[in-house]
């Protein structure tokens, strides 16, 4: 009985692996059929063949990997800074409800100001180099991390806090032993949300003013109506986002291994 259930679940997993690439294959086939032997459509939409040849060209020249490396570095640095600072701030707000209430409108302000509006100021302050993009990725991610981790700290099961009070734990012990670990789920959720936001922050910075990075590559190519290169840049961003998400999922599995 259990053998047949396990065989069934293995079968359904095999089907799942087969179904994963199906939407992508359908998209590429439809794209190919719509643009094949149609230069005017290819000018606007490019075509799978043109994108493939652009990919080969950009890969062999190293341009794609250099720009992708810059964007990854900016996004990851901003992500790490934003998530770490945000999580520490959010969790520490547990210590004082008064400070949390005072901080609330400021957090909302940071969270709601579009990063596009902040980008010109940040670039003026920090220059057109990598640091301004890291700052934009940081600003894109910090508010989410604060809000999520504060929510986590305030959602601790009351019976855990009661237990710590009864056994005479200090506030620091309660924070270290209960509040921090029980908020990890929320921090991991912030990490998942922040991957996209960090990439967006770095990309916007590169889009506005930069000399390298995928954003810069896409802006330059679109100015030249080189849609194939634009698509290569977009696909590269998607691959980076998926890769970073996989890393966060690995971290989640390690940190939250108790959720069996």
């Amino acid at each position: 009985m259990s053998k047949s259930i396990s065989a069934k679940s293995k079968n359904s997993r095999t089907w799942e692996y087969f179904l994963y690439p199906l939407p992508l294959v359908l998209f590429v086939v439809a794209w190919y059929l719509l643009t094949d032997n149609n230069p005017s459509r290819q000018f606007i939409f490019s075509s799978p063949q043109q994108v493939l040849s652009a990919f080969v060209r950009l890969s062999s020249s190293g341009e794609l990997y250099r720009n992708a490396g810059v964007t990854i570095f900016e996004a990851v640095m901003g992500f790490l800074m934003g998530t770490t600072v945000g999580a520490l701030l959010g969790l520490s707000l547990w210590y004082s409800r008064l400070v949390a209430r005072i901080a609330q409108p400021y957090i909302t302000a940071i969270a709601t100001v579009p990063i596009f509006a902040l980008a010109p100021i940040v670039i003026v302050w920090f220059g057109i180099g990598i640091f301004s993009k890291i700052m934009l990725a940081f600003l894109s991610t910090v508010a989410v991390a604060i809000v999520q981790s504060y929510q986590g700290a305030m959602s601790v099961e009351p019976r855990y806090l009661r237990l710590m009070q009864v056994v005479g734990a200090t506030r620091w012990q309660t924070f270290r032993i209960v509040v921090m670990p029980s908020s990890w789920i929320w921090v991991v959720n912030a990490m998942k949300l922040n991957i996209g936001l960090a990439l967006l922050g770095a990309f916007i910075g590169e889009f506005i003013s930069a000399e390298e990075g995928l954003g810069y590559m896409i802006v330059k190519a679109s100015g030249l109506y080189d849609m194939a290169t634009v698509f290569v840049g977009i696909f590269a961003l998607i691959v980076i986002a998926l890769g970073l998400t996989a890393v966060v999922e690995q971290i989640e599995r390690r940190i939250l291994k108790w959720r069996v």
Binding site: E157, R159, Y160, L163, Q165, G168, W258
Partner: protein, 269 residues
């Protein structure tokens, strides 16, 4: 028999002494009608289990929370072995265990040595092994997470966790209500044996009259306005001290009927 019991009380240490306790959830005013606990006095000695029965919402759990220091008393005094400080003297067992799900059972049981810093980890390990044996738990549970254990095992681990703090007084808030009948009987027996052998004291809150009669030395009835209005001394038949054995005796049925009659009046049936 009653003379012997009174004599015992004179020589046994008083673990908990509550006098004229009042508590109100209202933050202002002094209206007697708003008291959740009303002029409540209670003494519990070592080796004694006192059970409190009453209608839902009458203040049974509130009483435990006030004793534990989770809620401040409005008036009256609470003493623990003639001291006013409850820290480190109480083991609180909740209806749903308070084991941290992100820690293994072993890590949960080391909480006492982390908080108090008075028990070296090696000694804590030895103590844990002893307590696990008492509660018929295998050492392999130490590596498991609470979510991998049954409800009964989790409650056993909770009791061991509380024991690691070496409390004088246990507060139990319907600790066995979520367990199946067989597990409940076993745990009741193990807990009663623990209190008697280690001369601890316990205040148990429950809705279950059978559980109260089977486990307690005294059963107290709490009125809807948070006052203790009746007391039943439970004297089990010779050779029927365990909660399981007590359930089969004639005396058990008599106690059950008397307490149920009193409770019906309190509830208003």
């Amino acid at each position: 028999m009653s003379t012997a019991s009174e004599h015992d009380k004179n020589v046994l240490k008083t673990v908990l002494k509550i006098s004229g306790l009042m508590f109100s959830y209202a933050t202002t005013g002094n209206d007697v009608n708003s008291w959740a606990l009303h002029d409540l006095s209670l003494t519990v000695t070592e080796g004694e289990i006192v059970c409190i029965l009453g209608a839902s919402g009458c203040g049974k759990s509130t009483l435990l929370n006030v004793i534990a220091g989770l809620l401040p008393p409005g008036a009256g005094t609470i003493e623990f072995s003639n001291q006013s400080d409850a820290a480190g003297r109480i083991g609180y067992i909740f209806q749903n265990d308070a084991l941290f799900p992100w820690r293994t059972v072993g890590e949960n049981l080391l909480l006492a040595s982390e908080i108090t810093r008075t028990i070296p980890k090696a000694d804590a390990g030895e103590k844990i092994k002893q307590h696990l044996q008492t509660f018929h738990l295998q050492e392999k549970v130490l590596r498991q997470y609470p979510s991998q254990l049954s409800g009964g095992m989790r409650q056993r681990v909770s009791i061991v966790q509380a024991l690691m703090f070496n409390p004088e007084l246990f507060l139990l808030d319907e600790p066995f209500s979520a367990l199946d009948f067989y597990t409940k009987l076993k745990l009741e027996g193990e807990f009663v044996a623990l209190v008697k052998e280690q001369r601890k004291a316990a205040v148990l809150v429950t809705h279950d009259i059978e559980e109260a009669v089977a486990m307690a030395d005294r059963v107290l009835i709490m009125s809807k306005d948070g006052a203790l209005i009746a007391e039943f001394q439970i004297q089990p038949e010779e050779g029927a001290r365990s909660p399981d054995a007590a359930r089969g005796t004639a005396k058990f049925a008599q106690y059950y009927q008397s307490i149920w009659a009193e409770l019906k009046m309190v509830i208003g049936q």
